[in-house]
């Protein structure tokens, strides 16, 4: 039987290509999945897995998510209380933090305690945004990283961001990348996970990670 995956649409950019990448990963990994892009809380409630994407500024994204009536409450219910596997992508991952500090202080969902703050590289010559392909440093083993080579010789992920999540609990950080110091690349706590990079734009690494998420049993 096919599982259902809800990609939450709250007015933050194009989700069609994200949905296509999930369909491709499902097909390549042989995990039968129906991918729905939705702003309907009933669809999210019925989904086996939930994805929260996000592009743009933290405050804008938070406003957009709040504007979908009942969505935050639905996520609290099905992800936090019922333990449904959840993946946040880019700002969708940043929203898991306690607070975002971009332009203004904005409350996050608070699922991964910490702040989303400007990246401050130790080397002033480094460019912000952190834009392009970078490798991952695994902080601990995790099902989402299965079969993905990490380290300096590993696969690359596509990043484009100026702010990063500084998690209060070190054990919540699954992988970091380097941009004049460690930058949080992946977080996970229980059934909640997130990537700062864009798996839907990260070719080989991205499709493998999405496939891992589709088969993840937290």
């Amino acid at each position: 039987m096919s599982q259902s995956v809800a990609i939450i649409d709250y007015g933050s950019g194009n989700l069609h290509s994200a949905a296509k990448s999930f369909e491709r990963a499902a097909q390549e990994s042989g995990i039968a999945s129906t991918i729905r892009v939705t702003s309907d809380t009933a669809v999210v409630r019925a989904a086996d897995r939930i994805v929260l994407p996000g592009v743009g500024a933290f405050a804008d994204c938070r406003r957009g998510l709040d504007a979908v009536s009942g969505m935050v409450e639905t996520l609290e219910e099905v992800v936090r209380r019922q333990g449904r596997p959840f993946l946040g992508i880019c700002v969708g991952m940043q929203l898991l933090a306690s607070r975002g500090l971009e332009y203004t202080i904005t409350q996050g969902l608070g699922w991964i305690p910490g702040d989303v703050a400007l990246i401050e590289p130790t080397d002033a010559d480094l460019k912000i945004p952190h834009m392009g392909w970078n490798t991952l440093e695994r902080q601990r083993d995790h099902a989402l990283l299965d079969g993905i080579e990490t380290g300096p010789q590993g696969l690359h992920a596509y990043f484009v961001h100026s702010y990063a999540l500084k998690a209060e609990r070190p054990q919540d950080v699954l992988a970091v990348t380097d941009h004049g110091g460690p930058v949080t690349a992946m977080v996970a706590h229980g059934n909640v996970a997130g990537t700062q990079f864009h798996p839907e734009k990260s070719q080989r690494l991205g499709l493998k990670l999405i496939a891992n998420f589709l088969g993840w049993k937290p």
Binding site: N14, S17, R24, M131, H156, H161, H179, K201, G206
Partner: protein, 257 residues
């Protein structure tokens, strides 16, 4: 210097007119060398780090075709896509992002209406706003902005203009030398470096690539974070793989997976 892991990007750029690649792409046996989606897929498979579409469609009415091209590309290629050409209004940006572009490049509109850059960055985030700067050298060490393919002088000094658009929210600059474009004699390294050293955001070098050493120089001497080229890739002079290997051998950090 601390060990750095962010890689230099290679960005093939396709000129698209009325939904077709201008002059075609000859480096692979494509079923339809004039189809931008086919070309994009080939570059995706070849390991390009990003793709750039520059729409040179003359009439505004035909823009719908471009959206269809972008949509079909985004469905088939899971890699970053920048689209530019004729972007003048917030609605233009929204339409391109909804079609599947990751970044949108603003050129003339950034010159004629600086506020547009700020409006766009606030609306969609700095990370998806690229400002394309077309410049010509007017005297040693001084470059000025030109619009309309290099025909219209503006009198604006390029480095000051670059600083200004970055302060307004541009997340990346695409710097093209109108003196070098099409000459195959290499990037204008003085221009590229002057701008790259003046701003905090990444700079893409563009215009004039003739061989693989030009790509290396764009980074090592021009201080660019990414290199853009068109004809050397489209006509099969060099493959993306050859370019990456050459740049890696020259000591640059490249993504080879």
């Amino acid at each position: 210097m601390p060990p750095m892991t962010l890689k230099t990007r290679i960005i093939p750029c396709l000129d698209v007119k009325d939904g077709r690649v201008v002059k075609g792409v000859k480096f692979l046996d494509l079923v339809d060398a004039g189809d931008p989606v086919e070309a994009a897929k080939a570059y995706d498979a070849a390991g390009a780090d990003e793709l750039c579409f520059l729409d040179i469609t003359a009439s505004h009415e035909d823009r719908g075709i471009l959206f269809d091209v972008v949509t079909r590309t985004a469905e088939a290629c899971f890699m970053p896509l920048t689209v530019g050409g004729g972007v003048r209004k917030v609605e233009d940006i929204r339409a391109l992002l909804l079609a599947g572009a990751d970044k949108v490049s603003i050129n003339t509109a950034a010159v004629t209406n600086r506020h547009f850059v700020k409006e766009a960055a606030e609306k969609f985030g700095d990370q998806c706003i690229v400002v394309a700067i077309d410049a010509k050298q007017v005297e040693p060490g001084r470059w000025e902005i030109f619009t309309h393919g290099g025909r219209n002088a503006t009198g604006l000094e390029a480095v000051a203009f670059a600083r200004e658009v970055v302060s307004l929210g541009a997340g990346e600059l695409l710097v093209t030398s109108m003196d070098k474009d099409g000459t195959k004699s290499g990037y204008d390294l003085g221009l590229t470096r002057a701008i790259a050293d003046a701003v905090s955001v990444p700079v893409i070098a563009s215009g004039g690539v003739g061989d693989l050493d030009d790509l290396v120089a764009g980074v090592s001497e021009g201080h660019a974070s990414a290199v853009l080229a068109a004809s050397i890739f489209h006509f099969g002079t060099y493959s993306i793989g050859q370019a990456k290997t050459h740049m890696a051998q020259a000591g640059l950090r490249m993504r080879l997976d």
